[in-house]
């Protein structure tokens, strides 16, 4: 099994605070990972470092053997947890943008996803509701055939029915040549989706395991195990 993403003692400071405290982990190709932890644990910072949006850090990040930069942006699809579209853009502008600047973008696929989620081309992105924006971002990002998908809180603002649709879309996007990393604190939504889980707490990895192993060995859901681990972590 080859490794698509590897970090070596990744440290990132914001002022005096250590957002990432020496993270050394690996992610393999062909798996769906849950990158789980409470708010403020450093999930977003980690993903941003992998997406080549943070360059000033200690330690190493390697994506398919490359340092984050121009080349990795072509194989990494990053979904931020905020609205990163230009405020003049309509949905069709976002489609064109991705079509123009990403070679691995499948416009037809995104169009179909947008239609599924009942989003119109002429709608102004800045006027979309929270739920519609979340759906739109996903419809666009899942149109890319990337090697690594970094999804930061993809389910925020999404209702149950749409969530099912999105999970199915993630599954259909997924292939043996790609990897999906889902960073979220909504663990119950992704129980059946994840192969493998990594727990992040205060910038440190506190646990890594396969989803089915927890079920087999502890008879717990991932969420239950998460609550237990983090309760312990809090009291440490």
């Amino acid at each position: 099994m080859s490794v698509i993403l590897k970090t070596n003692n990744l440290i990132k400071y914001y002022d005096e605070k250590k957002a990432l405290d020496g993270i050394s982990i690996e992610f393999e190709i062909g798996k769906i990972y849950g990158f789980l932890g409470p708010n403020g644990s450093g999930k977003t910072t980690f993903l941003r470092a992998c997406a080549a949006l943070i360059k000033k850090h200690e330690g190493e990040v390697l994506i398919d053997g490359l340092k984050p930069g121009e080349k990795t942006k072509a194989i990494v699809a990053y979904l931020p947890d905020y609205n990163y579209f230009f405020d003049w853009m309509k949905v069709k502008d976002a489609l064109s943008f991705f079509d123009d600047f990403f070679e691995d973008f499948d416009r037809e696929k995104s169009e179909k996803l947008l239609a599924d989620m009942e989003l119109e081309h002429e709608e102004k992105i800045s006027k979309l509701s929270k739920g519609m924006l979340a759906r739109m971002k996903l419809a666009i990002i899942l149109g890319r055939k990337a090697k690594l998908y970094l999804l930061d809180e993809p389910f925020d603002g999404i209702d149950g029915v749409t969530r099912e649709k999105i999970i199915k879309t993630m599954i259909s996007t997924f292939s043996k040549e790609s990897t999906i990393i889902v960073a979220t604190h909504h663990i119950t939504y992704v129980e059946k989706l994840l192969d493998s889980v990594k727990f992040l707490y205060k910038g440190k990895i506190i646990d890594e395991f396969d989803a089915e192993d927890i079920r087999r060995d502890k008879g717990m859901t991932i969420n239950e195990y998460y609550l237990e681990e983090f309760r312990d972590a809090e009291t440490d």
């Binding site: 914001y14 002022d15 997406a51 949006l53 943070i54 360059k55 000033k56 121009e70 080349k71 990795t72 942006k73 072509a74 990053y78 931020p80 905020y82 990163y84 579209f85 230009f86 405020d87 003049w88 943008f97 123009d100 600047f101 990403f102």
Partner: protein, 247 residues
């Protein structure tokens, strides 16, 4: 790369882009009309017109080219290639190319401003060189005052209307105002304040260089202009390489 330039050029087709181009092209005519109503205030009218032109150039430079964002919370200088935490940072193109595309897309703005400038000179019966002298001479008093007023107004506006009562100002002003303001920042508006600081610094520089203008030949004047332009381009590329290193 071409697609990027095409993308940045789209700004001229959007309402604000079109509106500002039309306004600036009409500016000389508006100024001339104002002069007709107030014939004794020729210098003031021209100053205001030039000021508007300058503001236009400044704002579009900010939107197109400079977007300096100083995040005090993180104590990093992020030379972002664009405002809004922005899509261009996600695409697989180097920051140098992005900035070059932005520079090229900025050219129509400069051409429009230049045309306006020439027409202003025409209507106020000043040749190109005379206009330059006027600009620099006015700066030592009238425009300088106007710029300070607008900047203070802008900060007040920002303070009370735009960003939810958050105060945004450069460090030297923070020291004057007190540290309680330092807790609240908004990156977007800090980013807007920083170019203003740079512009003011430039203006002060020009003002202090003023005596020279009287004594140099037109040729030397043009050379000086070229030097300034080159410095701006150099700044632009400094922008790009600092961005690639320091973010």
């Amino acid at each position: 790369m071409l697609k990027l330039i095409k993308f940045k050029m789209k700004q001229y087709t959007r309402p604000i882009g079109l509106f500002s181009i039309i306004t600036i092209l009409c500016l000389p005519f508006l100024a001339r009309a104002t002069l007709f109503m107030f014939p004794y205030f020729s210098d003031w009218v021209l100053t205001v017109a030039l000021f508007i032109l300058g503001a236009y150039l400044y704002m579009s430079s900010y939107m197109n080219a400079f977007s300096l964002r100083i995040s005090f919370q993180t104590e990093q200088i992020n030379f972002m290639p664009d405002d809004a935490s922005n899509m261009l940072m996600h695409i697989p193109i180097s920051f140098k190319k992005i900035n070059l595309a932005r520079l090229i897309a900025h050219i129509p703005t400069i051409i429009v401003a230049f045309i306006s400038f020439v027409f202003l000179g025409f209507f106020f019966e000043k040749g190109f060189y005379e206009m330059e002298i006027f600009c620099l001479k006015s700066l030592n008093f009238r425009s300088y005052l106007l710029i300070i007023c607008v900047y203070v107004l802008y900060l007040l506006l920002v303070q009370f209307i735009i960003v939810d009562k958050k105060a945004i100002m450069p460090k030297f002003m923070q020291k004057i105002m007190g540290s309680s303001f330092i807790d609240y920042f908004d990156k977007e508006v800090v980013g807007a304040a920083a170019p203003a600081v740079i512009v003011i610094a430039l203006l002060i520089g020009i003002v202090t260089a003023l005596p020279i203008i009287e004594y140099i030949t037109p040729l030397q004047n043009y050379l000086l202009t070229i030097v300034v332009v080159l410095l701006s381009v150099a700044f632009f590329y400094l922008n790009a390489s600092l961005l690639e290193k320091s973010v």
